[in-house]
Every structure is written in C-alpha cells, then in structure tokens.
Symmetry: C2
Subunit: 679 residues, 2 copies
C-alpha cells in the first residue's frame, strides 16, 4: 500500500470496521487479507469453493466519507459466472477472490455463508465471533512427478502449500505419509490439505489430505460439567453451529458431587481409569450424535476444544485427581493442553487435535476460564462479577485493569441436596414461590405446568406431574419470601410466634417450619433447610467479598450468573437472600453456558486461545481457605441479606424488613468445613 | 564478553579449536557454552552428573600465544571434591561446571567421558564427531506446589526448564501428563527431563521425565540394507558406541533384489504390509540385541536415526514402493522424515522419535545421503567420487562447489548372481586370485583359509570349508588377471588360441572358459561370466562418466568405495577392469559402512541433519535413463578397461596390455535394460 494516495478507493469491511485504501483493481479478498479481516477461502482464489462471499452495503456513509455502490466492484467474470451457474450465489453476493475494487466500498463479510445448501439445525447461541480457526482447508494443484526434478510427492505438495498459501516448512502427521501417493493420484494432483496452525511460533502441520476440493471441515466444542455434558458441532468454514447435544455425566454413578468422585478414586485402584473411560464413552456417544444430526462423518471433525472444572479436566485427560482433593490443591497441569484426540480415546479424524483451555487454579477450572473468555471482564471498564454456582462456586471479579478469582465451597444445598424437600429441576418440582405478606399463604409454579397454583387449570396440570419437591431456584425464592414476610428473621430463625397467625407455621420440637404444600409428599421448609441455604450463600458471598476486598471495591457494576442455576434463579431473590452483592438489577444477567460459549470461541478463533492463556496467567488466584477475613465475611453473610453490607439498589425495588440489632447469626459458622467442590 | 581486554585470560578449546577471552572467575563450562563448544551436562552445574569433564593441556603453545597450566584453573571446591570422592574423577580431569578460569588455558574436551565405569563393548568405528544431540537430559529442581501460586506441576517444571536450561515454552508429549504428579513426588521435586529439540525453528519438547538425576540416555543408528541391516547403540551423553549388531534383511524371502520385492508388492495385495512387518520385526530383534549387549532397557533409547535405499525407506515407513519401480520413479516423500518411533512399530521409550535422512532421488536413497554426509565430498576442494555398489550402484561425485548424483543399474553380477560359479562371500568362497602370466596357472585364497592355494597348509585348511565358488571381490580379480595375462582381450573375449598354451582354457561350443579350480564343484570363468561383469561394470562406469561430464571433469581426485563390496575389492583390480575411473591409487579408499556412519553422525549431532538436508537439496540428480550420452559411455566402457579413456595412474603400477583397434565390444550394449535396483 506504499504508493497509495487519498485518491485510491477507500474500503471499509463490516462488521470488523477495519478500513484501508487500495489500488483500483485489487481483489476484495486480497484487500481483506491485507487488513487482517478474516474471509474464508478454501480454493485459494479459483472461484470454486464459494467460501469467500461478500456483499456491498450501498449508500452514502457520511461518517466514514464513503459513498458505496455495487458499481464500485468489477463486473462478474467468467469464473464467477460459472460458480453462480453451477452452485448458485445468493442475490447480492459476490466472490471476493474474483471481484476487484473499482471505487469506495462498504463491504459486508457475512458470518453465515451457507455452501451447498447445508441445513443448519440448531444454533448454540446467537453470538457471532470473529473467526480465525486453527485448522485451514487449503486447495492446491501440485506439480506432477518429474524424473528431472526427483522431489517426492509430499515434498511437491509442501512446495505448493508454501507458494499458494504461505505455509512454509509444513510438518506432516505421519499417518498421511503412507497415503499421500494414492490421494494425490486420485485427485489427479489436485488436493485439499487441512493445515493445523494454532500458535504463531509453531510450524504449520498437515493433519489431513483429500483428493480434489474438500469444501467442508468441522470442529466440536464441549463443556464437561460434573452433572451434564454439552457439545456443539460447528463448521470451521462458516462458523455456524450445525448441531448440539447434551447428556448427563455418567461419572454420576461413581459419586454425585466432585468430592465423592475424588474419594472413589482414592478408595478404588481402578477408579480413575473407570471414570476416565466413562466420560470418554459419553463423549464418543455425543460425537456420534452431533455427527448424525449434522449429517457428517466423524472423520470430518478436524479440531476440538474441551473445558471442564479441574477434576473433570484431570479425569478426562486420565490424570489422577487426588491431589485436587486436598491442600495445596495442586493441578498436574494448569496451562492449556493440546493433544491428538485419538491419544485420549476420542477418534475422529486421525489428525484431529484436542485443545483444553487453561485452568485458573486447583479448583477454578478451564470452564471458569472459558466463561471469563466469553463474558470478558478483562475486556471491560466496569467491575464485573461472574459466578458459576454448583456444589463449588467459581467466582471471577475484575475489569480491564485486574481480574481476581476464587472458588467457594457452597456445598450441594443450591442443587436441592441437604434440603428436606429438595430435588433436581424436573417436572413436578416447584420452581417459583410467592407468599402473601398478610395471610402468609403461598402460591407457586410447578415445572411442567403453565398456571400458578392459584390460577385456573393448575389442578389439572398437576394431576399429570404431581408436586414432588422444591428445586434450586424455588428454594432461593421461598426462603427470600419467608424473610420478606417476616416468617424468618434476618438471622434465619423461623419465628414460632407466627404460628398464631397461620396454620402453615408448624412446630417441630424446638424449631418451626413452613408448610409450602400439603399434599403427597408434604412439602415444608424446615429450620434446617434455612440453615443449609444460609451456610451455602454465606460461603459464596464471603468468597465474593474477599475478591472485592482484593479489588478494593465496596460494590460491583455488573453480575453474570453462569450455568443452569444462574439461568433459572431470579436475581432479585438471590439478592434478597444476600447470595450476591448489591447491584443495579438491570445489570445482573444470566449468561447461560458461558463455559460452552468460551469453548466455541476457541474452536473458531485461535486468537481467543492466546487471549485466555494470557488472561489466566494474569488472573490473581485467591485461596479462600488461606484468607483470614473469610471467616469474618462468612459470619456477616449468615444474616439475611447481610449483617453489615447495605443493599441500596435492592432497596429501590423491594422493601426489606427493618434491620434489627446484633444477633447470633454466626452460630453455625464455627462448624463450617471445606465441602465437596463442584460447579 | 563486552568489557574484555587483551589482559583477560585466553582460552582455547580442543579439538574444536574455538577460542576466546573470558573474565577471571568464569566457569569453564560457561566459557564453552559461550563459544558454542559442546560440553555435555545433565545436572546443570551441580557437580553431580560428572558429564562435563575437561582436562588441561600444559605447556607453551607458541602458535596460539598461550602458556597453559593447571594452575590457571581454580582449586577443587567442596562440590567437586565430593563428586571425586563418591564417583571418582580420572587423573587430570576436572568438572568444568565447578572450575573457574584464572589464566590462559588450552582445554581438552574428551569425547569419551565414561561415567559409572560403564563398559564399552564395541566401537562402530574410530571416528569421533562433534556432538550436539537432538535429545538433552536436563536435571531440574522444581518448586513445590503452593496454594498461593496455583500453577500445575507440569507448569512449574516448565518454568524450571526455562530458568535453568533456557528451554522456553516447552511442548509436552501427552503420555507424560498423566504421570507427572507421581514422577515429581517420587523425585521429591527433583527430576530429569529429556528434551527433544531437533530444529532451531521448533519448540523444545519434553519427551520423557525421570525422578531424580537420570544420568544416561541412548540412541540407535541403523542402516537398512536390502541384504543386511546394521544397528549401533550409542550413548547420547558420551557419544560412545555401546553395542552394534547386524542381521540379514528378512525381506529376502520375498525377493533377493529390490525389483523382485517391488514385484512382490505389485502381485500380492498384502505384500507391502508383509514386508513392512518383516523388516520392523527384524529391527525390533536388533534393538533387543543391542539393548542386551549394552545392558540397558529399551525405554532408555530416546532417539533413533534410520537410513536405507528408497525402497527400503518406503517399506520401512509402510509406503507402497510400486511408484519407485517405474518412471518417473517418484518417491512418496524425499525430504527428511521425523516420526514417533512407536507409530512405526518400534516401541522404545514412548517419547522416542525416529529421524530418516532425506532421499536424494527415487533410486538414490537416504543411505547415499548418509554416505555423502559421512565422506563429505561437499566439504572438500578435491573432486571426490563415491560409489556404493549393489545390484543398483549409487554414485555421488562432487566437491565444495557442486555435487551431482545418479544411480546405475549394475545388476546382481557383482554379488555373484548371473556368474556360473558365483556365490556370496562366505567360508569356501574364493576371494583373491592371481594368474601367472607365463604358465597361466592360478593361485587363490579362500575365505576361512589363511594360506594361498600354493602355500603349505592350504590343503588342510580347505579340507574344512571346501572350495565352493567365487565371491564378488574374486570375480573382479580373476577377470582382471585374465585380461592382464592375455586370456581375454580388451573386448572381453576369451581367446581360444590360448587353449594351446594351457589346459585351463576350455572350449564350450563356440566360446571358451578358464578353469580356476578343478574340484567339486569345478570352478570356471565362462565367456558369459565375463560378459555379465562387463555389462555391470560398463553400466557403473557410464553412470560415473555422466556425472564427470556434468562436472566438466576428465578425472577424479579421490574415490570412496562404500559398502561390503567396496571393502573387499582391490582398487587396483577394479581399475584394471575399468569399474572405476583412473585415479591415484593412494586416493582410492574403502569407506566401509559410510551410510551407517552418516546415520550415527545424525544421531549424535542434529547439526549434521541440517547439513545433509541442505546438501541433498543442492545435489543435482541425474537420471541415467534420460541422458543421451549414457549409451555411448556404456559402449566404450564395455572394453577393458575402456575403449576411449586412458588410465595413466593405473599404468604407473600395472602393465596394461597394449590397446588394439576398434572391436565389437559394444555388442551387448543394445540389449541393455533397466535392471533391478539395489545397493
């Protein structure tokens, strides 16, 4: 671009916003390359793969000083015309490899280029990322063998990859070498090479080779949760999510929570191997499923990214997780791991690699790293709190300047364990609860039944599924409502004096409980239930407070609630309970399976791998067990919502009971122990 | 070395001759590192591995301006004293890591540092190479896990490797990851890492990990010949050859020569796989044997280098060699290949790599490349001819300025096939022949019998082994002697007129033969035998001449005869026959298994891998079948020694029969065909 003047055409690429001036006649694809705008191309500019489609935004873009028009592109030439005739180009689309710049342009790089009318089944979510996958498909036409230049078939292929694609000095996966003769002859010296290049400082690597033009390549992104496993199949060429599938983690049969799985390993000589095998078997089942849904072969999967908490991460890789079960909670490996997928029992293409994001610490895993990547506290000015609640809560707090992370041993109460009527979120479970402040009568909603319990049609609906228990989101709500209606005090004591006001306040020896539903089973909230939730939320909140202390903050600007629990709880009730710190309620958002999204980002763009590797190195890890102030924060957090912290934002939308004097809210704190860890 | 003046000590390292000035107090090991002098060290300067031994040459080295004295080394300190007490240092040896420079020094870096009194069984040859192996053993003391800095075990190991050994950003072989916890704890955080780094542009790679100090590492170098396979086991730390073993190539059962093996692959669907399996099985047997001889485990082998002709190379790697059997003789891969040894069925250590040297062309193999590396025509000013004679002769001709290579289809005559009384070199075979020019009576020597046939004790000796045939070296000699004594003409015709002079000239129909030994069996040299040798030597010589044409030379300065055949033939007789061009006989040398030596060089020094990769790219390959002048050279070379070329050097030591006029020596030339290829 050395000799370009202000009179050369100005080209703006969207959505990246990158712009530059180019000489008249520059191919649009070439202009994109020069600006670092990712436009896929498999055929290398031969107008046969159709991957490099763009369109023009017409009009006067005063802000950019551009008057953009399709007339500023060269006419459709014979190669592009042939592609349109044979394969079909959507209206307004051009092949950027075969289209030259003639004047100022605003060019759209569509993120959904659908080739060969492939059907997209299901989107993982709506987010679209910049792409720069670690695997590129590179079509080349290789010189035929020549007695005068006795280079090997593979060596001539390497020359072509260097000349046409600037992949110099390509390394070759050994499995290709015995096949290279046959593939090149079958393709009549025209082949498509799958080149894996993840990091800038590593040599490009030939991982698969196909005769002729191979115009598709896929990858999987997977979040191995301790309870459920979610997998997405994406096209590496279009970025689209082609299929998604989930299953429960079969390791559950070795132990519900993570700590019981670690114990299983410690108690059983074959325990580690059995759990590794179990999770890999489930993963292979999911791979088969997404392949069937996407109508592709396993061998078409050329890249894969996995995340999980540290124990899932270790078991998946075949590493003994025992060390993660006790201080100093040392991971065997915390950095990012790359491995041939076949080496870890996930045969896809023989050349497919598996990338695992780094773990942040011994109990803040690659899933938390992926969620961080997805939600990006490190990319924003606002102080963002990210919480992923499981039997172990992973907490990340930070902004552009600094990110800190910890885990807190919340225990399984939020998942319904340790709660007398607790159960998993399933049809029949109560999921929403309101209590009338005057009558103390409840109304509630049951999973699988549309009407609330006081609305017409509820009885009919419930006749199908029953009312079987309380799931996590309803536990939060019922206890918060009990607090707002005065049934329990700020110390969490069910007030026996209320028994006179409502028959729903029941006496059980020395404590009282609240009757939520008088059916079969009878669903009550006991004093022990309240205590279990208090312990769990206090542990979580104390962890958050430690991170706020580290950041020197008395508030957070934004809260992201990750995972299934985060999706279903009502942020307002979580705040009433003091599960999360005070915050503008509009800025508290469920972020869904943020870990899965982060994994998908790393699948589609290797730059995100570098970003999270750098970020994790910079994240400061707080070991809650080592922090002297944890206990103090924990005791204060036993109160509802908190003994010391104010909730001014919450007070704008909810009338909180008046705060009483000091009470014995911390009585259980001394008996606190580190519990099983989970996410 | 920025502030050093002429007054700082001057240190010269031998045998490399590298020199430099260093501040007083610089450790000798550090000085060596700065100059690029390879001194092994496993313990990283802790005075525990004993690998970094040096000694001082005392005296006044006027040429270098150095007066060297042991007093110019620092006194033995406590760590070195402890090593000497526990392990023992040979007289005059110092540990360079623990010894500082105090004054001018000439330092010897011994190439044979024997640690722990390991017994060296058998040396491959006496040559000593500069060393710089691709695998280094690196002892480190890793930080213990710490809750405050929650890095993984592996990540802390990587930090230590970067700090102590400057191996940054180490890649890790996956098989190590599940073991890392146990190894590090067993070594109490002191471990030895085997780091593989072959090329400058690749990341170092952790391929094996041992608890504590692992003060040994081995490698194998192997030449896969079509007839025999030779393997050497070397210490990567001392460079010593610890054991050597050989075996016949079991592929012989699929075909004696290479072309018949290619045919076997073409005719049998499982032929390729069967031959690959056969050679790998033989190699595994050899590995077991050298390990048993060297008293090491297979897992102690951490690197390996293989060479072979193109067909052996392809079959070893599991590549179909059919393409090598016909024009354009395209190899599947000609460049150097690196592969995990386990991937090609040679399990050693799980992290062991196998390196194959590049092939020069479709029938000039990695063995020729290795021989080139060993003999180094590209490193010298003299024009050197290297010939490796088998059923296919590989020919390399060149000097520092330019190297050219070709192969010539000599056929199996030199190996005794196609010769009526021919046999392999084995007890009972005639190996040396002289013919009395007056009486035409022969005298000869038989393998396994010390005296010549006209010396006392011959009859007794021969009673044991018999006289069973003529081996390759004797075929050369007997035909050369027949020529020198006038029994055959320069055209190779056995002169029937001589029958009157000696009863050893026998008539067989229209041709005559020479009776070498009248026993059981009766050993004669027939007219057909002479013709077969003429065809073979003419093919070889014509190939040599083509290369000389390319170089614009009418003579060569130096000749290296490689392989077993080259070791046993008498250069003078080879020249009388016109097998090789005229040359000062003192400069014609057998170079033994030069291919095996080249393989060993690549095992012990990765710089040699780069050297031969560069050199092979620059070697010009001549396809003899495509050269119009081949036929002309071939016809001229049918004569003894040659119809047109003079042999002035040979004439100084041998009285050649007077040259006659033109004759019908080229009669067979027209029937020449490309024959089976072999080395």
């Amino acid at each position: 671009m050395a000799d370009l003047s202000q009179r050369d055409p100005l080209v703006l690429f969207m959505p990246s916003g990158k712009r530059g001036r180019f000489a008249v006649g520059t191919p649009v694809l070439e202009a994109a390359r020069q600006l670092g705008v990712y436009v896929e191309s498999v055929c290398g500019g031969r107008a046969t793969c159709g991957r490099c489609q763009i369109s023009v935004q017409e009009g006067n873009f005063a802000k950019h000083g551009i008057t953009s028009s399709v007339d500023h592109l060269s006419q459709v030439g014979p190669k592009e015309e042939r592609y349109d005739r044979v394969r079909g180009l959507p209206d307004g689309r051009r092949l950027s490899c075969s289209t030259q710049i003639l004047g100022d342009l605003v060019i759209d790089v569509p993120q959904d280029t659908v080739i060969n009318a492939q059907v997209v089944r299901k989107a993982a979510d709506e987010r679209v990322f910049d792409r720069n996958p670690a695997v590129r498909m590179c079509y080349v036409e290789v010189e035929e063998p020549d007695m005068e230049k006795p280079l090997g078939d593979l060596d001539r292929l390497k020359l072509a990859l260097s000349t046409d694609w600037h992949f110099d000095d390509v390394e070759v996966d050994f499995h290709i070498i015995p096949q290279v003769q046959q593939i090149m002859r079958k393709g009549e010296w025209k082949v498509t090479a799958a080149i894996h290049k993840d990091r800038e400082d590593e040599r490009p690597r030939l991982i698969a080779l196909y005769p002729g033009l191979k115009n598709e390549a896929y990858g999987i992104a997977c979040d191995i949760g301790s309870t459920t496993i979610a997998m997405h199949l994406s096209s590496l060429l279009s970025g689209r999510t082609v299929a998604s599938a989930g299953t429960s983690n079969p390791q559950i049969r070795f132990g519900e929570d993570l700590m019981s799985r670690v114990s299983y390993v410690m108690m059983n000589p074959d325990g580690r191997a059995a759990m590794t095998e179990a999770v890999r078997e489930a993963l292979n089942g999911l791979i088969d499923k997404v392949c069937a849904d996407g109508e592709i072969f396993r061998t078409d999967i050329l890249d894969s990214v996995f995340v999980g908490n540290p124990i899932m991460h270790h078991l998946f890789l075949g590493i003994d997780p025992t060390e993660l079960g006790g201080a100093p909670f040392a991971p065997a490996v915390s950095g990012a791991v790359e491995v041939k997928s076949a080496e870890i029992g996930l045969p896809m293409n023989a050349g497919t690699r598996t990338y695992l994001l780094p773990c942040i610490a011994g109990h803040v895993g690659a899933d938390a790293a992926a969620a961080t990547l997805s939600e990006g506290p490190h990319r924003q000015d606002e102080m963002m709190l990210m919480v992923d609640i499981g039997t172990n809560a992973e907490i990340v707090l930070g902004n552009r300047a600094r990110v800190v992370a910890a885990s807190s041993p919340t225990g399984p109460a939020f998942e319904g364990a340790e709660i007398s009527s607790g159960q998993r979120a399933a049809p029949g479970a109560i999921e929403r609860v309101r209590i009338d402040p005057l009558t103390l009568e409840p109304r509630f909603r049951v999973i699988g039944v549309e009407p609330w319990s006081d609305e017409p049609g509820f009885a009919e609906g419930v006749a199908q599924v029953g009312v079987t228990g309380i799931c996590g989101s309803a536990i939060i709500e019922v206890i918060a409502e009990m607090f707002l209606t005065g049934i329990i005090s700020e110390d969490g004591v069910v007030d026996g004096a209320m028994a006179g006001r409502s028959p729903r306040i029941l006496e059980n020896g020395r404590t009282f409980s609240y009757l939520l539903h008088d059916g079969t089973p009878r669903i009550t909230v006991t004093q022990n239930d309240v205590r279990a939730i208090q312990l769990a939320k206090a542990a979580l909140y104390a962890g958050v407070k430690l991170l706020m202390d580290k950041q020197g903050m008395d508030h957070v600007d934004r809260i992201g609630l990750a995972g299934a629990f985060g999706t279903f709880i009502d942020p307002k009730y979580a705040m009433v309970l003091g599960l999360i710190p005070d915050c503008d309620l509009d800025k508290v958002k469920a972020v869904g399976n943020a870990a899965g999204t982060g994994a998908r980002m790393c699948l589609l763009n290797r730059d995100y791998r570098r970003e999270i590797e750098r970020t994790v190195q910079q994240i400061e890890k707080i070991e809650t067990a080592l922090e002297p102030k944890f206990q103090e924060h924990f005791v204060a957090a036993m109160a509802l919502p908190n003994k010391v912290d104010a909730f001014p934002n919450l007070a704008l939308v909810v009338t909180l009971p008046e705060r009483k004097g000091a009470a014995d809210a911390g009585g259980d704190g001394g008996r606190r122990r580190r519990r099983s860890r989970d996410t």
